[in-house]
């Protein structure tokens, strides 16, 4: 830590289908942190994530990742991206999917087996993705994001539909990766996952309600859990409005 932030977002504004989805959002993601992007469904989490990866059309503001404009060519081998819906080929096996993505990235083929094992799918490596459960497909997609040991991992709801043991294992993996210097931006709508992050961005209606560590947010709102903290922040926001 103490490095430059891995992601710097400055007055990011996004419209989708005529609606304002992100309203001049400014925030940072510290290098080597596990930053949780928390907020209800429809708050703009996925849009913010897509902006960081550089696949979202934006109306205003800037997004920089590792000091370069989001989506620019040099970043394409430095960022791992997990889309919300598993983006892997249903008609290929787990290993065939990952071999292909590894070839596109130009990483060593040995990387394929290590990411399969990191997401706990070694015994399913030869199975067609289309025959796997939803949670297993998400993990294949996550494994693809881990290929090539990217410096920044941007994960859109990686733990949806997973059983608690697996969720715990994945959060351990995320913290382990952060310990090795990877920066993670992880979205979730489950508040209990927020406790596992070093930093939080609370998003609601396209605006940042709070950006701090979980402990600092609890202290500031004088609450014991983040669910109550989130509610307190919403209430506090609504008071000054006329």
């Amino acid at each position: 830590m103490g490095d430059d932030p891995a992601v710097v977002i400055d007055r990011l504004t996004v419209h989708r289908g005529g609606h304002l989805v992100l309203d001049a959002v400014s925030c940072e993601v510290a290098a080597g942190s596990v930053t949780g992007l928390l907020g209800p469904s429809g708050s703009g989490k996925s849009t913010l994530i897509r902006s960081v990866v550089g696949v979202q059309k934006i109306s205003g503001g800037t997004v920089e990742v590792l000091g370069k404009p989001a989506g620019s060519r040099p970043l394409r081998s430095l960022i791992g991206y997990l889309t919300q819906a598993p983006s892997v080929y249903a008609d290929l096996s787990v290993r065939e999917n990952l071999r292909y993505f590894a070839a596109v990235l130009g990483t060593a083929p040995s990387d394929v087996d290590s990411v399969i094992s990191a997401v706990g799918l070694t015994d399913k490596a030869g199975a067609l993705v289309g025959r796997l459960s939803g949670g297993q497909r998400t993990r294949v997609s996550l494994a693809a994001a881990l290929l090539g040991a990217p410096r920044v991992l941007v994960l859109d709801e990686p733990t949806v539909g997973l059983d608690p043991v697996l969720r715990r294992d994945l959060w351990e993996l995320f913290n382990e990766l952060a310990g090795r210097g990877t920066t993670l931006l992880v979205s979730s709508h489950v508040m209990d996952e927020a406790e596992r992050c070093s930093q939080l961005l609370l998003l609601r209606d396209g605006r940042v309600l709070a950006a701090d560590s979980p402990a600092a947010i609890r202290d500031r709102t004088d609450t014991h859990d983040l669910e109550s903290a989130f509610l307190a922040l919403i209430d506090a926001e609504q008071v000054p409005s006329p």
Binding site: G17, V53, G54, G71, S77, Y89, L92, A103
Partner: protein, 245 residues
């Protein structure tokens, strides 16, 4: 452009097909059966089969590859794999050329099989060489692939993508000279026929079937086909957007 990524993409597309035995069987066997049916229909008039048979060897690859490619590319768009690939160090042309290589390989196998069945089992009698027949079928398949990639940009669902086949391909089939020679059409129709790519695939096939070696006319048709293929691929690449709404 990057040969490693292009070849990996071609290999991936072929692996997807390899898992789908029924599609492979349909792709390879249906053209042979249709040619057999055609030769049976013209049982008493072998000259007609000798004229139409080769033309179908140019038409099948385009029609089949058009459908397969447009649906495959639409799946890339809707499943999110396209979005993932475009966040990776992949050029749009690497992806499109990967598809072209994969379906080109498939087309050679398809045309080789259909050609062998026609020449050796069904008694198709042509002057030209089987080699140029294959080259023409390959170009026709690449054209179908390039047009399918382009058409997929305008479809939002697989239903729509499949409907593009009659919309894009049937008018070309009516005007390509299969039913009425292109010179004998009304001036408006023959002008339309002149700007449609399938006409050149069919012309080229008629030419290579009727002459030994490569004639100037067939060479010109190949060049026009090449230009259509490159043009459709470039337009197709322009429809692949890294940033979407």
């Amino acid at each position: 452009m990057n040969a490693r990524i292009t070849l990996a993409t071609a290999g991936r597309v072929l692996t997807q097909l390899r898992h789908d035995h029924r599609t492979i069987a349909l792709l390879l066997i249906v053209p042979c059966l249709l040619l057999a049916l055609l030769s049976w229909v013209f049982d008493g008039e072998p000259a007609v089969f000798d004229r139409i048979g080769p033309l179908l060897l140019a038409i099948f690859p385009l029609v089949v590859m058009f459908i397969v490619t447009s649906v495959a590319m639409l799946r890339e768009r809707t499943s999110g794999t396209l979005e993932r690939l475009l966040t990776m160090p992949m050029n749009k042309l690497d992806l499109l050329l990967g598809y072209a290589v994969a379906f080109g390989v498939l087309a050679v196998v398809q045309a080789g099989l259909a050609g062998a069945v026609s020449l050796w089992l069904l008694g198709l009698d042509i002057v030209g060489s089987a080699g140029w027949l294959l080259v023409t079928a390959l170009l026709s398949a690449l054209l179908g692939t390039a047009l399918g990639l382009l058409a997929s940009a305008f479809a939002q669902t697989e239903f729509q993508a499949v409907q593009f086949m009659p919309a894009f391909v049937l008018p070309q089939l009516l005007l390509c000279g299969l039913f009425v020679p292109r010179e004998a059409m009304q001036s408006v129709l023959s002008a339309a026929s002149n700007v449609l790519p399938l006409s050149y695939a069919v012309d080229a096939m008629a030419e290579v079937a009727a002459s030994t070696g490569l004639t100037a006319a067939a060479g010109r048709d190949f060049l026009v086909l090449g230009a259509f293929i490159v043009g459709a691929l470039v337009l197709g690449a322009a429809t692949l957007r890294r940033r979407t709404a």
